[in-house]
């Protein structure tokens, strides 16, 4: 009956409120911003540009206009936000974050108000924007908890776009996008390096399983054009090798294109134009390589862009004759379809995963925005022993890993703070069920989880659903090892 006592006389259960501005990711580099089509540095007449971009965003996004106009500041988003829970910074309450934009709207642009001159825009305010709109992982949990359905990730996305038009961005978005334009992926792995890495993978796979498995690069006419989760290649090779094992087990030839070898879309951390340009590269590469299927690896925001946004970004695949399935496919969805049709009948050995007591972490984008809920769970049922986390922290209400929205590499403290609510749940799972392994279907989640599990000393490892499946398919190869050994 706690809710009968509205006056909270006890001390706040949260940590002491503090400013979290030091945790924000660094600002974008000048060369990267120019390559992304943005001004290299803050424009001299930024006030006018700021208001013009704001007006343009209001004309373009109904969600932005709606969310600015109809917040009642009820505070329902405060307990929903992982970053507010983790940092205890009151400006990280989603409504307060959005109020940074709402204040500008009311003072300078709203109808029925007396508009102040643009010179009244102070740099302090833009500095607050730069800090707090880069402390959101675009996970959309607040949108689920808001009675009005206000999606602060939309406000964050649009405000990052406005900031970018002034020449202010985070290194995650601009650096990631610029690296994608330079090398095809946001980690900056050069095209020749892919051949070497894939040759190394082939040797490792042969060593592990005793079966020669091809990991081709830029192969014309392969059946599958695979968008590899490049985080996995860099930090979590076991999960990456699992994709090769899965394709081998399915008997399907696959290839990776060095023109776009990244399942995630760093443009979505920056603005619409760069998101569209990076998504466009997939179709351009597919036209060169003529695959039958285009399959996204385990990824979060990249999969959301491909499956939800691509249709409105001029990506009509219906005219692509070479494609068998004229829509993006997720590897988890695809693997589940194969499994459902009996492609792996009698070949799955769940005992290979017996040392792992698994729990499943729903990635925000895949679960909340793309509805990828049942497939990974049914695959897990087939390949391992696993326990569901408590209700309210799974499915559409899943908690953030802390690493979304471009926060993963360059602001590790912030990612750890955003991971805190999930870490509490995982600690409970470890205590009650003895879980020692967290499976997920997003490469960003995987690396954020691995870092967080190590930092909070939870005694668990992070890995992938496809990784567990590959272990069960090739039980002699690497099944006993913990996932994040690399």
């Amino acid at each position: 009956m706690r809710w009968l006592k509205p006056f909270n006389l006890e001390p706040s259960p949260l940590p002491v409120p503090q400013a979290s501005w030091e945790m924000s990711p660094p600002a974008g580099r000048e060369a990267d911003q120019r390559l992304c089509g943005l001004p290299g540095a803050l424009l001299p007449d930024w006030q006018e540009t700021f208001l013009a971009s704001f007006r343009r965003a209001l004309r373009r996004y109904r969600s932005f206009r709606h969310h600015l106009e109809s917040c009642v500041r009820c505070g329902a988003c405060a307990p929903a936000c992982c970053f507010y829970q983790g940092t205890a910074d009151p400006l990280n309450i989603p409504a307060a974050r959005a109020d940074l934009a709402r204040g500008i709207y009311k003072r300078f642009l709203a109808p029925g108000g007396i508009h102040e001159p643009a010179a009244n825009l102070k740099w302090e305010l833009v500095a607050k924007w730069q800090v707090y709109f880069h402390q959101c992982s675009l996970c959309r949990r607040c949108a689920l908890y808001c009675p009005m359905g206000i999606d602060t990730s939309e406000i964050t996305f649009v405000c990052r776009e406005i900031l970018a038009s002034l020449g202010l961005s985070s290194q995650a978005g601009t650096g990631g996008s610029a690296e994608t334009y330079r090398t095809g992926n946001h980690r900056g792995i050069m095209p020749p390096s892919w051949n070497q890495r894939h040759q190394g993978l082939e040797q490792e796979l042969l060593h592990e399983t005793g079966v020669p498995m091809a990991c081709p690069v830029d192969e014309y006419g392969a059946e599958v054009l695979f968008l590899p989760p490049v985080e996995d290649l860099a930090r979590h090779r076991a999960a990456y090798k699992a994709y090769a094992k899965l394709f081998h087990a399915a008997g399907i030839s696959w290839t990776v294109s060095t023109y776009i070898d990244d399942a995630s879309n760093p443009g979505a951390w920056l603005d619409y134009r760069n998101m569209r340009l990076i998504q466009q590269r997939v179709l351009e590469a597919a036209r060169e390589l003529q695959p039958r299927l285009i399959i996204w690896g385990e990824s979060g925001l990249g999969w959301r862009v491909a499956s939800c946004f691509a249709e409105s970004m001029g990506q009509d695949w219906s005219g692509e004759d070479y494609l068998l399935h004229k829509a993006p496919l997720n590897i988890v969805e695809w693997a589940y379809r194969l499994y459902q049709r009996g492609a792996f009948q009698g070949r799955l050995h769940p005992e290979a995963n017996v040392s792992k007591v698994v729990t499943y972490h729903d990635p925000c984008q895949a679960a909340r925005s793309c509805g990828l809920l049942a497939e990974p769970r049914r695959l897990l049922n087939a390949v391992c022993i696993w326990h569901e986390m408590p209700a309210g922290t799974i499915g559409r209400e899943t908690l953030c890993c802390g690493g979304g929205g471009g926060l993963n590499h360059l602001s590790p403290e912030l990612a750890l703070a955003g991971f805190l609510p999930r870490a509490r749940v995982l600690a409970g799972m470890n205590r009650t069920h003895g879980c020692n392994w967290v499976a997920t279907i997003c490469d960003g989640c995987r690396s954020a989880l691995a870092r967080g599990l190590k930092h909070y000393k939870l005694g668990m490892s992070a890995g992938g659903v496809i990784e567990l499946m590959a272990n069960a398919l090739y039980p002699n190869g690497g099944g006993g090892k913990n996932g994040d050994a690399c």
Binding site: D151, E154, E311
Partner: protein, 338 residues
């Protein structure tokens, strides 16, 4: 007509303003005074209880139309639906239904105090307004008498819900950071309307003829002014008019705008058309800005470079002649490569 509060200082009185001034205060009263055609009191009555409500209604209509039209005409460029409604098919098309249903059901478990307060408040407002219906009907149909106690209870519910919401806003330290003048001001305004209404039920009931006169006068604008209704009703009515006047430019727009929220819209599987981004054509033929790359900086990995790499790769594999995708298509179809 009763003298009313303005009678003394605006020249009203038993004779009416014009007659009083013409005759002067010291003149003896006529036995059978000629009533003025329009008294000052009457003019004030007509302004306050006829013209002002009409003006506010027109203002409200224009404001609502303007705001909602502008919101509805703003495009929804991307698919941002979340939380698909628990019903598919025809029922899900009623976005009104799904929005309200989702709010009540989902918020109940997550924020019970807020759900209780806002449910009480909104439901109470609805009931209280239905209780006001009897003022506009003459005679009141007997079948509608049940609305009188309902409206009364609705008033209490309304006030109780507002009190809960105010206590929640004051009691939760997280909400102190969010709350501003607009939030407390709106709670205060609604509370004042509720309390003045409740006071007219219990403490100082106004002349029923005066209330009826105002309400029916709104429906029949050419009818003569009615009796003075008392200060409390003027306060109640004035606050309600103020609320309606600021409605289109306040946070109260969360109600009508909820049904235009693209995040709460049922997805394409519910029968809505797929998203079309009207301004995506601004980016047709867009490419990374190569001219922005200064000498010495790494060059972008363009399609031309990629095609060169593919040619080299396939030549090394033993292909005699390597076409790029565009050349391949043009050799097949005879068209220019894209």
């Amino acid at each position: 007509m009763a003298p009313g509060p303005f009678g003394r200082w605006l020249g009203g009185g038993p004779l009416g303003g014009a007659a009083h001034r013409r005759l002067g205060p010291d003149r003896p009263r006529l036995e059978n005074p000629i009533p003025p055609r329009v008294s000052y009191m009457g003019v004030l009555y007509l302004i306050g209880f006829r013209a002002l409500p009409y003006a506010v209604a027109i203002w409200l209509g224009i404001g609502l139309f303007y705001r909602l039209r502008r919101l509805a005409l703003t495009p929804v460029p991307l698919r941002v639906e979340i939380d698909p409604p628990p019903f598919q098919g025809r029922l899900a098309r009623l976005s009104l239904f799904s929005a309200v249903f989702l709010n009540v059901v989902t918020q109940w478990r997550r924020h019970p105090l807020m759900a209780l307060g806002s449910l009480n408040m909104h439901l109470g407002l609805l009931l209280a307004l239905s209780g006001h219906l009897r003022f506009f009907l003459n005679p009141v149909p007997e079948g509608l008498y049940f609305l009188v106690p309902l409206g009364r209870g609705g008033g209490y519910l309304f006030a109780a819900g507002l009190a809960l919401l105010a206590m929640r806003r004051l009691g939760d330290p997280r909400l102190w950071h969010l709350s501003g003048r607009a939030d407390f001001g709106m709670l205060g305004l609604l509370m004042a309307i509720a309390l003045s209404g409740i006071a007219m039920v219990h403490w100082a009931p106004p002349d029923p003829a005066a209330v009826k006169g105002i309400a029916l006068g709104l429906l029949h604008p050419s009818s003569p002014p009615g009796p003075w209704p008392g200060w409390l009703l003027v306060l109640h009515l004035g606050l309600a008019l103020a609320l309606l006047a600021i409605f289109p430019f306040s946070k109260l727009m969360h109600g009508p705008e909820l049904f235009l929220n693209p995040v709460r819209r049922p997805g394409p599987e519910a029968g809505f058309s797929p998203h079309v981004n009207p301004w995506d054509q601004d980016y047709l033929g867009d490419a990374p800005s190569r001219e922005a790359v200064l000498p010495g900086e790494p060059q972008p990995w363009t399609m031309e470079a990629y095609r060169r790499r593919l040619k080299d790769h396939w030549s090394a594999l033993g292909a005699r002649q390597v076409f790029s995708a565009g050349e391949r298509n043009s050799s097949r179809s005879g068209r220019e490569p894209r």
